[in-house]
Symmetry: C2
Subunit: 227 residues, 2 copies
Amino acid sequence: MDKKKAVVLLSGGIDSATCAAIAKDMGFIVYALSFDYNQRHKTELDFADQTARFLGVFEHKIIPTDLSLIGGSALTDNKISVPDFKEGNTKIPVTYVPSRNIIFLSYAVSYAEVIGADDIFIGVTAVDYSGYPDCRPEFIEAFSSAVNLGTKKGIEGRPFKIHTPLVDLSKDQIITKGLGLGMDYSFTSSCYNPDVKGYACGKCDSCIIRKRGFEKAGIKDPTKYSN
Amino acid sequence: MDKKKAVVLLSGGIDSATCAAIAKDMGFIVYALSFDYNQRHKTELDFADQTARFLGVFEHKIIPTDLSLIGGSALTDNKISVPDFKEGNTKIPVTYVPSRNIIFLSYAVSYAEVIGADDIFIGVTAVDYSGYPDCRPEFIEAFSSAVNLGTKKGIEGRPFKIHTPLVDLSKDQIITKGLGLGMDYSFTSSCYNPDVKGYACGKCDSCIIRKRGFEKAGIKDPTKYSN
């Protein structure tokens, strides 16, 4: 039987890299998809490219768009600062980009329909995460239903399946899983606010979650931190 | 009471212009949203701009992206020709752009969340249309559910409402409705395949549906056709 194709959303971070490694390990031909959305941490695209090359994906598309025209997030509006991590914060932080995963998944569905892939992978996790609503399983499920009603492929009885293999894993479990599949996390970056040299700040939510994940997994974090 | 804001997807065609006129008539402050997605008929953006100015919308954003990187449609891949209209065709035509409305609505949700609007308008119609699955009410309903689970605003109990005021109207009814609201359709364009001067082809699905709409409404079509 021919190998099946899958679209994998690739951000340059740990989760999406692990997700791509999992899709590859499951036997899929990986079509990676990233976005140049005028994000503050555009350096993540270099890491996405490195991850794609390291994993030997079949194709890696980077879609240009400009979410800074809409703004509303510390990641897309330079007037909003990236806050340092706060222990016990339960509010959705200002790094939340409204509809980001909704937008990214919409493009993934388009790409999957064009290449004839049933399968889409997104590295959302609802354990060690920043409380973004579009990372939650109930959203993914509802979105899947919507796109299977709103696409030619879906209504023709060839529905899309959106895989979220990391959704129940903690960050250290994700790292352990990826390492077991041969992933090299020096090709990833998590920081929301890297300095001009590309060094991670070590203070934002995403850096702290990453650091703690490596610590708990008992693995040295290969990230270059400025702090 | 303060006037409420609404995001209106504006393509440059008849339906979205009418939709914007309806939103304005309903008392909303209109925030129009268009996309420069490397479409074959990019001239539609000039018409979207004219419509926005004619209606006096509060703001008109044009988001750049590039769906030709994904392709798969006669509107985004120059290697696929725009077919002439065929009477009685029941298949989804090659002008279908996979996930286009899904992508556009995702941005509309993002924009609405940032400006604090509950209301989004899209001029889909399931009567005189080309059979695109993302124009159907069942898709819009499912998509609304998904975004209300996947956004901060949605989960905080301030859900989005996606208005489809044209969904049950035929093209002539839409035109009559718009004219009643003062819309001037010379500021709109429907053609998928305009010539270099911007004249409409008069032969594609969209041109024929438009022509017939004006005929049935008993109104002169202000479009400049090359044929």
